[in-house]
C-alpha cells in the first residue's frame, strides 16, 4: 500500500510538471504508467474513468485523482490530488513573480507559440490512445464518430453529448 502510494506520488508529481497545454496532453503518459507499467487498471477501465472525469463539472483535469481513488482509496485520492496540483501550482507561484517583471519581453510570445505543435501532437496522441480503449466495437466506433461530429459542428452542451452516448450504449447494448 505504501509502495503504491509512493508510486502514485512520484508519477503524478512528474506529470504535473510536464502537463503543458492542460491535462489532456499527459493522458498517453498517464495511461502508459497506470496500464502498461504498473498494471493498476486495464485500458478499458482507464477509458471509463476518463469518461467519468469528463462528466463532472469544472476543470476537466480530475482523471488523475479518480485513478488514485480507484487504485488506493481515499489515501490515493489525496496523494494524487496533492501530487497533481502541488508542483504545477508552486511553479505558477514562482513564475508569477518573474512574469510581473518580464511583461513585455518578446520571448514570452515565442515560448507560447513554440509549445503549440507539441501540445497539439500530445492531444492528438491522447485521442488515439483513448480511442483504442473506448471505441472497441463497431457500435462504439459509431457512437464516437457521432460524438466527434456533434462536438465539432453543433452547439450542443458536452453533457448532452455524453448523455446521448450513454443512452445509445444502453439501448444498443454496446461494449
Amino acid at each position: 500500500m505504501g509502495a503504491t502510494l509512493l508510486s502514485l506520488l512520484v508519477i503524478f508529481a512528474g506529470l504535473s510538471l510536464v502537463s503543458f497545454g492542460g491535462g489532456n496532453t499527459i493522458l498517453p503518459e498517464m495511461q502508459r504508467q497506470v496500464v502498461d507499467v504498473h498494471h493498476w487498471l486495464s485500458a478499458q477501465q482507464f477509458g471509463a474513468l476518463f469518461a467519468l472525469s469528463q462528466a463532472a463539472p469544472g476543470p476537466n483535469m480530475l482523471v488523475g485523482p479518480l485513478i488514485g481513488w480507484q487504485v488506493a482509496g481515499f489515501a490515493g485520492l489525496a496523494v494524487v490530488t496533492v501530487a497533481k496540483f502541488g508542483p504545477s501550482s508552486i511553479l505558477t507561484g514562482l513564475a508569477l513573480h518573474l512574469w510581473e517583471r518580464q511583461r513585455h519581453r518578446p520571448w514570452r510570445a515565442s515560448v507560447q507559440r513554440g509549445l503549440v505543435p507539441l501540445t497539439t501532437g500530445m492531444v492528438m496522441a491522447s485521442a488515439a490512445i483513448i480511442a483504442t480503449g473506448a471505441a472497441t466495437t463497431v457500435t462504439l466506433c459509431a457512437i464516437s464518430a457521432a460524438a466527434t461530429v456533434a462536438a465539432l459542428t453543433g452547439r450542443l452542451h458536452p453533457l448532452v453529448i455524453l448523455g446521448a452516448g450513454a443512452l445509445a450504449g444502453v439501448t444498443l447494448g454496446a461494449g
Partner: protein, 182 residues
Amino acid sequence: MTTPGPLALFRGFLGIGMMGFGGVLPLARRALVDRLGWLNEAAFTDLLGLCQVLPGGNIINLSVAVGLRFAGIAGAFAALSGLIAVPLAVIVALGGLYARFGDDPHLRHLFAGLAAAACGMMIALALRMAGRLRGDPAACAIALGVVAAVGWARWPLLAVMAVAAPLGMLAARRSRAKPAAR
C-alpha cells in the same frame, strides 16, 4: 476593485468550479471580471497568458495566481481548493457507482457508450487544434512527430518534450522572422 480574502477566494472559485463542463475559462472570465470584479480585463488576459505557458490546467493555475496575488499562499490554497472541491466530490460519487455496479451489463453498456462519446469529444478537440496548424508545415511536422513518438512508439513523454519543445520554439522564431510565410 475589491481585495478578496481567503474565504471569499474559496467561495468565488467554488462557484466557478460548479459551472461549466469542458471549458470553464469563458465562465471564469465572466465571474472574475464582470461579477466579482477582482480583476480587470487586461489583468485577466495577462494572468491567463502566464498560466497558459506553464504546465498544469489553465484554470487551475489561474486560481493559484489570483489567490496568491490577493491573499498570499493561504489565498492560493483557498482558491484552488474551492475550484476542485465540488468536481472531486462528483467524480468520486460517479467512480463509486462505476466500481460497485460496473459489472452489471446495463451499466457496462452505459459506461461504454459514455466512454465512446467522451472519446469522440476528445477527437473533436484534437481535430480543432490540428486545424489551427494549417499553413505551418514545420508545426505540422512537429505535431505529427509527437503523435508518432507518444501515441505509437510510446516513448516517455519527457524525452519527447525535450526534443519537440525547442524545435517548436525554433520554428516559431523562424516563421516570425519571415512574416510573409504566414
